[in-house]
Symmetry: C2
Subunit: 428 residues, 2 copies
């Protein structure tokens, strides 16, 4: 590590060594047979979840936990033409809240990016991989996962198979006595439920820790006596206030979305994902989802896929659902999510990096001058769709801090600057 920049360097996050100094390949994490103790990463002891070890874990998730395959099917991949542009690296921008200006190339490492791909008018104009990720490896998408299932649920609404105004208990009597019981389907989808449940990723006292242990996202301590599965955990959640008023980000809403999809379609969530999206998008590779101890997939947080396949999903939405030679999802679904949710409800959550945004159908809507919208996952996972710039960005990362509030200052303005550049220089 003698040649590596140390913590608090100009490109790192205060308190953490920077991207180059925490490159898991360079550091030899999990290399050797067996890896030496000081470079061994385990699920059981929680090291998989610590920084910088998670820089390896996020590209090796299935080696840590049980998973279920989501097959791409036998057809050919939809080819994304390549037209790499050398003028993008110099595009510069100023971080949210001010500070020194950075350029696109610098933003990649500043954000602990594992992989980033930019599509412009459907062509790959930039693509980079770092650290443990390669173009042929899957990376965990965390809450970007939610946006896939949001699109599926929204499609079921359009088809009249899922009633957004019905209470959750109408479909899931198992949740009748929980806080979800009288919530409308649309409130679960837009996360305006009022529930006694906190979601703070780095606080061991947060309810999210209980959720993580119930679902298998985190190891269970000896003598664990909590919920045995994700669905058992959901059934014990209490109501806290009035549904429909305030947006509060809680992953457990998405688990209810997944359960609703399963109940309405008769397919397990991973089967619905294959039937509705993964098997028809022309993706390059199978994806997978972590499953809990009884085989239920973690639809809120644990899709793993190749980066370009996330980009294909974003491009399909940019094209109003028309992709790979077919209408993959109804244009109405895209129109609805692009329209956004209640901006008033959103303000209750107090996201200082997302002024004027809203949340709709498991998507984050910017309402900016380009009408950009996003799928967002902790530690920097993202799909960014910019309709005005005909641009889609897919990004995997392993940022030291979970909440995107720490990444937004150096990513949102970079995306917007790139979009403006592509509009003003469409041909490179």
């Amino acid at each position: 590590m003698t040649n590596a920049p140390q913590a608090n360097s100009s490109t790192g996050v205060p308190g953490f060594a920077d991207a180059a100094a925490t490159d898991p390949v360079r550091l030899g994490w999990m290399r050797g047979s067996p890896p030496p103790p000081e470079h061994t990463i385990r699920f059981s002891d929680g090291s998989y979840w610590r920084f910088p070890m998670r820089r390896w874990s996020f590209s090796h998730w299935r080696e840590l936990v049980p998973t279920v395959n989501v097959a791409r099917g036998p057809g050919p991949a939809y080819v994304l033409p390549r037209a790499i542009r050398d003028d993008l690296d110099a595009v510069s921008w100023t971080p949210l809240g001010g500070g020194e200006s950075l350029n696109w190339a610098q933003s990649i490492d500043a954000n602990y990016t594992d992989g980033i791909v930019v599509l412009h008018r459907g062509r790959i104009v930039a693509e980079h991989y770092r650290g443990a990720l390669r173009e042929d490896l899957p990376h965990i998408a965390f809450s970007v996962t939610k946006s896939f299932f949001g699109v599926i649920a929204s499609t079921l609404i359009t088809e009249g198979r899922l009633d957004p105004a019905a209470p959750v208990a109408h479909y899931l009597p198992e949740l009748d006595r929980s806080g979800f019981g009288d919530a409308k389907v649309t409130q679960v989808l837009d996360m305006t439920t009022a529930l006694r449940h906190t979601e703070q990723y780095d606080d061991p006292a947060s309810d999210f820790g209980d959720y993580a242990r119930a679902s298998g996202l985190a190891p269970r301590p000896a003598g664990y006596s909590g919920a045995d599965s994700t669905y058992a955990y959901l059934a014990a959640i209490a109501k806290d206030g009035e549904h429909g008023r305030a947006f509060t980000y809680r992953s457990i809403n998405t688990d209810v979305v997944g359960w609703l999809i399963a109940r309405v379609t008769g397919l397990a969530p991973q089967e619905a994902l294959r039937a509705r999206l993964w098997g028809v998008l022309g993706v390059e590779d199978d994806a997978f989802l972590q499953v809990d101890g009884v085989g239920t997939p973690l639809v809120a947080v644990a899709l793993n896929a190749r980066l370009r396949d996330l980009a294909r999903f974003g491009e399909m939405l940019r094209l109003d659902g028309q992709f790979n030679g077919r209408q993959v999802v109804p244009a109405e679904v895209v129109r609805d999510l692009r329209g956004g949710g209640s901006r008033e409800a959103f303000t209750h959550a107090g996201y200082r990096t997302l002024p004027g945004w809203s949340y709709r159908r498991q998507w984050w809507i910017s309402h900016n001058d380009h009408e950009a919208y996003m799928a967002r996952g902790i530690h920097g996972q993202a799909i960014y769709v910019d309709p005005a710039a005909e641009m889609v960005i897919a990004r995997f990362a392993s940022h030291p801090l979970a909440s995107n509030v720490h990444l937004d200052p150096t990513s949102l303005p970079a995306y917007h600057a790139l979009a403006r550049h592509l509009i003003s220089h469409p041909a490179g």
Copy 2:
């Protein structure tokens, strides 16, 4: 279950319900969101390993444990032409040890077959799937896994990179003080090591239980204080007698083979499998291996793959390594394993269904009039190569009993009868 034949029917194994009555799809195991408690299968409570639940587990292994992918690579699959023959079902034979004669069609369910494919002169002449298995799903191969790594180690010997006469400790000083330390590489490969370690699958008191808990093949009880990984477990194995005299089947030998491969090639075992076999065989799909708590693959027992891909591997060997447009492994490797090991050493193991057989390089050699040889895994996994009949059989099963001694009476004579039929009726 009212329509299903009960235990002790004419086609079942005494004490167990028969194949039709234990079909996991028909019984609804792990169906529903969530599956009802009486049809839920868990790793944590050991139900995945019990009969009939294992009839589901064997086709859904990655949903139970951590695994690592073995990529097939980007090339096209090697197409196995289909020439299904309707004259095979009636081929009849008498079980080893006598009894009522059965035909080929009957043998499939009598053996709790999950899938079976027969190649004759490289063409698929029979192919069947049952229960939880489908042609596009992977199934656990159990100790058939060993035979893949045996071929890789044998190839490294041919290349002069692994010395069969060297003591294990020469390559693996970590095992110097274990019973493996002074064993020759060839003795580990041919399982003539003398070690204090018993391998009885259905006896909880057998050392195999400790091995299973160390490697992650079985759940660990609360307060577990045994070995933390497969390699840590190996290092604690004591010597018991003199190496090189008697064949004794112990999976731990194969873990040493995998470790040797890793040490000699600098590749993790799963990477060596991809580089040497999976990426060059023209297989249809990726395979995967279960990994232990520190990422080491279970090279003795936990390859999962599609059935036809096992058949491709067998066909490659039948063709002396020449397959998919290249020499996949040296012909010398095939010649060596076909030649067999010490038949005298083999007799010490007392396999009553395998008189005159031997064990060589992680393969079972029949020395019968067709010079057939096999890869064999518990509960009925098999690759059967019959050079005289130009026939290869790959088979997955979920037989109620682990040891193949229970399956051999109704499978070995069936394979041989089919081979004789194909020789006498080569054109169908």
